[in-house]
């Protein structure tokens, strides 16, 4: 009889192990996009609440936000979180030689990308705005930030990545060892899946509705920037992408159709994906060669694909007939 009981207990134990803690998936709208948090664990932090409290500080359109007040009053004291993000973003602007510029907002507004009335502005209007686009004009004195007249700050190019990092930290703090976050196309994962395999993350093809390839990720972020997102067709019949080149004030035209940056830090991947897209393949490769904290998938406008060598074992091409090059250090 004892043996029977032991056998039953053994089987029950096996069943319990097989079930394990389950994934909990939440979906919500925030930061003008859809966000999904899929985490394995119990007593998970309220992701939506966390994101919305960050959005309250970082939004460029909410009159109550710290960034809105800074843009309106040209000087403001900001919270530690906003200051952290701002300083990280400024360092990325510097590192990318201004290919990422968090003072691009006046030009974005001129193009109507911040509203629903997207249009091609007059060349004279863009020319007049160019002197205002310069991240070096942002003054940081302790927690007090100051902007010269006309200069405006927008942390949109790094906010989702930073938000991902904050969520990842909160989930890890509550004991989560397996999670997959998708914040409007920014994917960040904790560990691998509970079966021990890495997360399988598709990379969107800028040229079609299909997945271009698959990244196998563990404890990493993958962020994509491309001209196919939020673009519009002007009255001249040309398509205009939403990522502006801070040097010209016009949509970036670097020969790249899309860039996916993979690294350990969400905010870094977010800022770099924009910057690499703006600077084009050659400059992007130069920056990668002098760095050790990110890898990338580049899709050229002609459809060819290039990956940095660190992704050789992590990236699998899903489409046949596409040219794939591995960039070596």
């Amino acid at each position: 009889m004892k043996r029977v009981l032991a056998a039953i207990l053994f089987v029950l134990l096996l069943c319990g192990c097989a079930a394990g803690p389950s994934y909990q998936k939440v979906t919500f709208l925030a930061m003008d996009t859809v966000m999904t948090v899929n985490a394995c664990g119990t007593d998970l932090p309220d992701a939506e609440q966390l994101v919305k409290s960050l959005e309250k500080k970082l939004s460029v359109t909410d009159p109550e936000s710290e960034i809105f007040r800074l843009n309106r009053d040209k000087t403001a004291s900001v919270s530690t979180q906003t200051l952290n993000l701002l300083e990280t973003a400024l360092a990325l602007c510097e590192r990318t030689g201004g290919a990422l510029d968090i003072t691009i907002y006046p030009a974005l507004t001129a193009w109507g990308f911040t509203t629903e009335s997207k249009h091609v502005p007059e060349a004279s209007q863009i020319a007049a705005l160019l002197p205002l686009i310069d991240y070096r004009k942002v003054q940081v004195d302790g927690s007090r930030i100051s902007l010269p007249e006309g200069v405006m700050l927008d942390l949109g190019s790094v906010a989702k990545g930073y938000t991902g990092d904050v969520l990842i930290a909160a989930l890890k703090e509550s004991g989560v060892t397996s999670a997959c976050l998708n914040l409007g196309g920014n994917v960040q994962v904790i560990g691998g899946k509970t079966d021990g395999s890495p997360w399988q993350i598709g990379v969107q093809d800028p040229h079609s509705d299909d997945v271009l390839g698959v990244l196998a990720l563990r404890d990493q972020a993958a962020v994509t920037s491309g001209a196919y997102q939020r673009n519009f067709i002007g009255e001249d019949g040309n398509t205009y992408g939403h990522i502006l080149d801070p040097e010209t004030g016009y949509p970036a035209d670097s020969g790249l159709a899309g860039v996916t940056v993979v690294g350990n830090c969400g905010v870094l991947c977010d800022g770099l994906s924009t910057a690499l897209f703006v600077m084009g393949l050659d400059d992007a490769i130069r920056l990668w060669k002098s760095s050790r904290d990110f890898e990338a998938v580049f899709v050229n406008e002609d459809g060819s694909i290039a990956i940095t060598e660190g992704l050789r074992d992590q990236f699998t091409l899903r489409q046949t007939g596409r040219e794939l090059t591995v960039i070596l250090r």
Partner: protein, 122 residues
């Protein structure tokens, strides 16, 4: 013979638990579409169980979206929103990305990304 009975029971239970485990896995493989209005899941549709196409409307305080459900697929056919992005975005199966109508705060999301993927960056 009597000696072996506990072991036979044990092995039987083990096989039974394996069968239950596999069965549970199998029932979870259907493609489920979830419709969220203002962050709240208002409807779940098992697309793999759909045999005949049908349409229905989701009316919120922000406006109306008409949704077409076909065997294995779902899309927005009409919306009185200003940008029409939800109508143009087609099926979430193609890109693996959810259909989003920001003006109406409506999201249609597939439970599983297509092609055995966990998520898609884009």
């Amino acid at each position: 013979m009597k000696k072996n009975i506990p072991w036979l029971i044990g092995i039987g239970l083990l096989l039974l638990s394996c069968a239950i485990f596999l069965l549970l896995r199998k029932t979870g493989s259907g493609q489920l579409a979830r419709i969220f209005a203002d962050g709240v899941c208002i409807r779940e549709i098992d697309l793999s169980a759909v045999t005949e196409p049908y349409t229905f409307s989701v009316e919120t305080a922000y406006g109306v979206n008409e949704i077409l459900v076909t065997p294995g697929d779902i899309c927005v056919t009409h919306s009185d929103c200003p940008d029409q992005i939800c109508v143009r975005s087609g099926s979430p199966r193609d890109k693996g990305l959810p259909i989003v109508c920001l003006p109406h705060r409506l999201v249609i999301q597939l439970e599983n990304a297509p092609g055995g993927l966990d998520s898609i960056t884009g």
